[in-house]
């Protein structure tokens, strides 16, 4: 069977495939108005077979929210709580903007309806579900002509009957309905409502998109990437589309983890630098999860891979500010007009600075498919050099070091600020622009090595192919720890386990390849934040230890609460195998070396080798300064570095001279 991984990005749609036992990559421009077009034409370019399996990461759900092009959605709540979604947490995201406005809501006030009913915090009924008021709401929704409905009642995770009654009452309308206890059975009504609304808002759009793809892939299997690092069936993705939001970067993190693991490197900081932003994630023997994500300021509390993003990328604009400082970003030239060297831009970008210093090679950009206009840079650098009082080379290197500072800060946030020392990790660089900055960034953080995988420009697609099938479940139980023991908790897990196994069987996973992982969200009584602890017989001790590690103290005498139980059902399908290469000797073949070029490092032009990565093999060693060229990216090795190619074709760059530590 053939395998295809497809990642739709803002500019390119990336494909990786295995056909007749061989791997191949393909990249073509995305078709933003109808993303399926590029996906389908790419697939027919790759294969005519009718026996393949495809895993797809799509930005359809994410973009529907960012561009406010989702379904017309109604929200049903308890009477008196229609505005919970509008009030949010009553804070503003811009502290010093007295003209602050929240982003437009996904459900306007005239589409928010209240029904008389109320459940208490013990799950008991305070006010019975009022059929007449529900019927009234159904009638209003019918008049309003909506495409999707979200239902979120208080404490529905304890007692879902009112939401189920509401679903029944809505049945005749035949409109896609999302119930909060099914999407996120956890307490905190705003976050649950927001997650449910986001799901309702994107599901009809996702359903249309997936249906269109399915109709055009002739019965082949389609799986969809989720933001939790696993894939799900197309059918599930249509109903739980919220789980596909922000899945693109998750594919990259999975790709980094799986590639690193294969090469024996399990402590990684992934660094994905693109045109407008940079994503970083800390991987310490496993993929990190977060439950605190948001899109367009709307909380989405389903588990996601913990990825930190900063607004610095190849397209970030450089300028002198009113106080005389050289600034870079967060404004970006975007795809249009793009950097100066693309022919249209009028403001210097990070990419232009790289080109000015000779670190990008104009005739080899994107394998020579796109040319860069070096001549165009000169007058812009002249102008900004006068403005800043810096000579042009210093200015260009200054732009890079300011950009590096922003990215260094992003990595400190996910490492130092969480108690990790970056010098124990390898910087795993991918994305179009990552290789240009990785070594200088690693040096700022005292990281000893940079790891560049094969085909770094399409790593997200690789990750999607390697991802497990994962379904996450959670339930708020809010119990005092002293009232519970291991056996009682096991009992609480039972319905979740049953559901997890049943649903993974439906996903087509063999029973022997399914396993479940159990966790508890715990806290000390009185706290308002929880820590996720693996559920073993030692869960109380684990909590104290993890609390100590995360927060610097623990208090075994203090009472604890078990807030949520969590279940992760994982199916591990057979994964594509990559065979190691035999050792080919330290010296790269002659054909790997292109001409030498002067490249500026620390203000001095250095004769630098241009090296074609496709001709490098296992065991080859390279000494900096060097520029390594490949189809999807360019890697800069400054002076005083050396690199080695490993048995899987990964390039391991040491940020110091050979022999030094």
């Amino acid at each position: 069977m053939e395998l295809i991984g497809v990642d739709t990005g803002g500019t390119f749609t990336d494909f990786i495939y295995r056909k007749e036992g061989k791997w191949g990559v393909f990249k073509q421009l995305s078709t933003p108005s109808n993303p399926a077009e590029s996906v389908l034409s790419g697939i027919s370019h790759i294969t005519q077979s009718d026996n393949y399996k495809m895993v797809h990461g799509s930005t359809v759900a994410t973009n529907a929210i960012l561009e406010r092009k989702g379904a017309v959605t109604a929200l049903i709540t308890n009477k008196g709580f229609e505005d919970v979604f509008a009030i949010g947490r009553q804070n503003r995201t811009e502290l010093y903007n007295p003209q602050y406005r929240k982003p437009p809501l996904l459900v306007p006030s005239h589409l928010r309806f209240g029904v008389h009913c109320r459940t208490r915090s013990d799950g008991g009924v305070e006010l019975a579900f009022d059929d007449a008021s529900a019927a009234e709401v159904v009638e209003k929704i019918k008049q309003a002509k909506v495409d999707s409905i979200a239902v979120c009642f208080l404490f529905s995770f304890l007692n879902p009957h009112d939401e189920i009654k509401m679903e029944k009452a809505l049945e005749a309308l035949k409109i896609s309905t999302s119930l909060s206890h099914k999407i996120l059975a956890e307490f905190r009504e705003y976050e649950r409502t927001s997650t449910t609304v986001v799901n309702a808002y994107v599901s009809p759009i996702m359903k249309r998109y997936i249906t269109h793809i399915i109709e055009n892939i002739h019965g082949n299997e389609l799986r969809i990437m989720q933001s939790n690092g696993g894939s799900i069936s197309a059918a599930t993705a249509m109903n739980e589309s919220v789980r596909t939001i922000l899945s693109g970067p998750a594919g990259g993190a999975v790709g980094a983890w799986e590639t690193g693991k294969m090469a024996g490197v399990e402590k990684l900081i992934s660094f994905d630098m693109g045109g407008t932003s940079t994503d970083v994630a800390l991987i310490d023997g496993g993929l990190p999860l977060t439950f605190e994500s948001a899109i367009s300021d709307f909380p989405v509390k389903v588990p996601m891979i913990d990825i930190h993003t900063v607004g610095a990328g190849g397209g970030s604009l450089a300028f002198m500010d009113a106080g005389g400082a050289l600034r870079v970003g967060p404004e970006s030239s975007g795809a249009d007009p793009g950097p100066i060297c693309y022919g249209k831009g009028e403001q210097i970008t990070v990419t232009d600075a790289n080109l000015y210093l000779g670190r990008l090679v104009p005739e080899h950009f994107l394998g020579g498919h796109m040319t860069l206009d070096f001549q165009r840079l000169e007058s812009y650098f002249d102008k900004m050099s006068r403005e800043s009082g810096l000579d042009k080379k210093t200015l260009a290197e200054g732009i890079l070091s300011v950009a590096d500072t922003a990215m260094e800060k992003a990595i400190r946030v996910i490492s130092v600020e969480r108690g990790f020392d970056p010098s124990e990790f390898s910087l795993f660089s991918f994305g179009g622009a990552g290789g240009l900055h990785a070594v200088s960034l690693a040096r700022l953080l005292n990281m000893p090595t940079v790891f560049v995988p094969q085909n770094p420009g399409i790593l997200s697609a690789v990750g999607m192919l390697m991802a497990d099938v994962i379904k996450d479940y959670s339930l708020t139980i809010m119990q005092k720890a002293q009232d519970m023991d291991h056996a009682m908790l096991e009992k609480q897990f039972e319905p979740l386990v049953e559901k997890g196994i049943e649903e993974l069987l439906l996903e087509g996973i063999d029973k022997g390849r399914i396993h479940v992982e159990k966790f508890l969200d715990m806290r000390y009584k009185g706290q308002s934040y929880e820590i996720m602890v693996p559920f073993t017989t030692e869960y109380e001790n684990s909590f104290h230890l993890l609390h100590e590690k995360s927060y610097g103290y623990s208090n075994p005498d203090k009472k604890m609460e078990i807030v949520n139980i969590r279940l992760r059902a994982r199916g591990t399908p057979e994964k594509p195998i990559i065979d190691p290469e035999p050792h080919a000797g330290k010296i790269p073949p002659a054909k790997a070396f292109g001409e030498k070029r002067p490249v500026i490092f620390d203000g001095v032009p250095r004769e630098t080798d241009l090296i074609h990565r496709k001709h490098l093999s296992h065991g080859n060693e390279i000494t900096g300064p060097a520029i390594i060229l490949e189809y999807t990216s360019t890697i800069v090795m400054p002076p005083d570095t050396f690199a080695r190619v490993d048995q899987f074709g990964n390039l391991i760059i040491h940020t110091c001279k050979k022999g030094e530590k």
Partner: protein, 566 residues
């Protein structure tokens, strides 16, 4: 009234007085800083403050710090001039430098010392805000002056920098749980701590800590929060030393100063764009809860070139109730307003203060003297100072300043015994309201404005923890002032008591509504009420009451003012 000539402007930086007079070209004689290093240092200094904040947030114990983020961290040079600050709560902006100055004046620092303080009349704001200040010495000259060697410390043994952080502690003793009482003297509000060494040469003063902990209601939580504050300072010290090691002491000092100049330049440019003139405005507090009504705050704002002077001397005398503001609160509110005018992302440092002078009279509502009660000055009067200064600026910059926002934090404290579990409980919350409309847009609904930005407690979290049932949580429709653009709507929170409870409300804008601009209508006043046996009783803005099982407490928060004729 004739414009007043500033006779006694506050100058936080006596050594920089010269530069206050010139109009922006005072740096012409100096070396021009390298634009690249300027940006790199800007990022580094800010990230030190942020990292201190992360440490504090991560290791703190109480929800007030962890979830509501009621804390700030900052770096200072050897003279106590602020280099950078990370503030989550604007009310801390201007007051941190005064804390550090008070600490420097009060003690001789030695290596490993840390000073704590909360005395509003010695560098503090209100008692729950406790600040901890630590010196950073040269790593090479770690040996401090010998004890008893006299006042003079050799120059190389003086601190090179200071780090400080402030956190709002959920209880510091006093007459009511939560230490936000309707008091009439500072002594009722909690433990008063002048600048004292809580850590001496690296050792915690256990006696002092025991004394403090014996005077507060939740000692264990306080101890946890204190150690987090100490850890945060240690993080700051370590990061500054790393910076000095990487770039050298003179370079770090030089860029600390360059960045102050940088922020000053940008602030001055903004002020220079405001037309020269004298602009006057007056707003008022409803009352102090102790019988004094219509407490006015008066400002005369003089813009001349690239400097601003704000004269508050005609404001009301200080009052018996707890709405008195100490000077640092007023300064914070003024600095906040000027900060909102600047669109650039500048480091918040001593340079931002230099172009701005305040004139106040001791013993007034905006510069109270000991032992006036101040618990509410921080939360309520600070908001009114903002309204007043924005009102004056609006005359200078018509079309650019929003109408008044809700102008209160609607502080609510409920305490008692939870009969379901037979454990005592104490609940504190502040409620958002309407923001003022602008010349181009409606005001935002049901959100915290200006000096605070703390999160709400979710209904489900609240009902799990306390014996209440929330019966309504909604936007208060049509409470925003009408106009071409409408003020934001306030909110409504109604809660039914499931058992007896004692409660305190400290709120404003129940009598005098938030003003509109240019013909825009004022926002609706807020309302507090209790429903007992089906009968609704309107309560005043500041009150204390005993509630019975089945009573419903309702709070309707004010709407924002409207903008322009409808």
């Amino acid at each position: 009234m004739p414009p007043l000539i500033p006779s006694d402007p506050l100058d936080l930086h006596a050594d920089s007085r010269k530069t206050n007079k010139a109009h922006g070209n005072e740096t012409s004689g100096k070396d021009i800083p390298n634009p690249i290093l300027l940006e790199v240092f800007k990022n580094r200094f800010t990230s030190i403050c942020e990292e201190m904040g992360v440490t504090l947030n991560r290791t703190a114990f109480s929800p007030n710090i962890k979830e509501r983020r009621d804390f700030s961290c900052a770096l200072f040079d050897a003279n106590g001039a602020m280099i950078a600050q990370a503030a989550h709560i604007p009310v801390h902006l201007g007051s941190m430098p005064l804390s550090v100055k008070a600490a420097i004046d009060a003690v001789e620092f030695e290596q490993g010392d840390m000073v704590m303080l909360n005395d509003p009349y010695k560098g503090g704001t209100h008692l729950p805000d406790i600040t901890i200040v630590a010196p950073v010495f040269d790593p090479e000259s770690l040996s401090p002056a010998k004890p008893g060697a006299g006042k003079k410390i050799p120059r190389q043994n003086r601190p090179r920098f200071f780090v400080a952080n402030r956190a709002h502690h959920a209880d510091v003793g006093g007459m009511s749980a939560g230490s936000m009482p309707l008091s009439s003297s500072l002594f009722q509000e909690g433990v008063i701590i002048p600048p004292l060494k809580i850590v001496k040469k690296g050792q915690l003063d256990k006696d002092l800590m025991t004394l403090f902990l014996n005077n507060v209601r939740t000692p264990q939580e306080r101890e946890g929060d204190f150690s987090a504050q100490i850890m945060a300072n240690l993080t700051g010290i370590r990061r500054i030393r790393e910076l000095v090691k990487k770039y050298s002491l003179p370079e770090v000092k030089r860029y600390a100063t360059s960045l102050m100049d940088y922020s000053e330049t940008i602030t001055r440019k903004k002020i220079a764009s405001i037309p020269d003139g004298v602009y006057e405005f007056e707003d008022r507090l409803d009352d102090d809860g102790k019988g004094t009504k219509d407490i006015h705050i008066h400002v005369i704002l003089t813009i001349k070139g690239d400097g601003a002077t704000l004269d508050f001397r005609h404001s009301h005398a200080q009052v018996t109730g707890s709405v008195n503001a100490v000077f640092s609160i007023t300064l914070s509110a003024v600095i906040y307003v000027f900060r909102t005018l600047i669109k650039e992302d500048i480091p918040f440092n001593a340079g931002c203060f230099k172009p701005i002078s305040l004139i106040t009279k001791k013993g007034t509502i905006v510069d109270a003297v000991f032992p006036a009660a101040v618990a509410g000055g921080n939360v309520e009067t600070s908001q009114r100072v903002v309204d007043t200064v924005l009102g004056a600026l609006e005359k200078a910059l018509p079309g650019q300043i929003p109408a008044a926002g809700q102008g209160t934090m609607n502080n609510l404290t409920v305490g008692g015994m939870d009969l379901r579990t037979h454990t005592p409980f104490a609940y504190y919350e502040t409620l958002g309201g309407g923001m003022g409309a602008t010349a181009t847009n409606n005001g935002e609904n049901a959100v915290h404005s200006h000096m605070t930005n703390t999160l709400n407690t979710p209904v489900e979290a609240l009902e799990y923890s306390y014996p209440f049932l929330v019966t309504q949580y909604a936007i208060r429709k049509h409470s925003g002032g009408g106009g071409k653009f409408c003020g934001g709507d306030g909110m409504i929170r109604e809660m039914r008591m499931l058992g007896p409870a004692e409660m305190t409300v400290l709120s404003e804008r129940r009598i005098h509504p938030p003003h509109g601009i240019d013909g825009g209508k004022p926002g609706a006043c807020g309302n507090n009420y209790i429903i007992r046996n089906g009968r609704k009783k309107i309560m005043p803005g500041k009150f204390h009451a005993q509630l019975k099982k089945g009573d419903t407490l309702g709070i309707e928060t004010p709407g924002g003012g409207g903008y322009g004729r409808p």
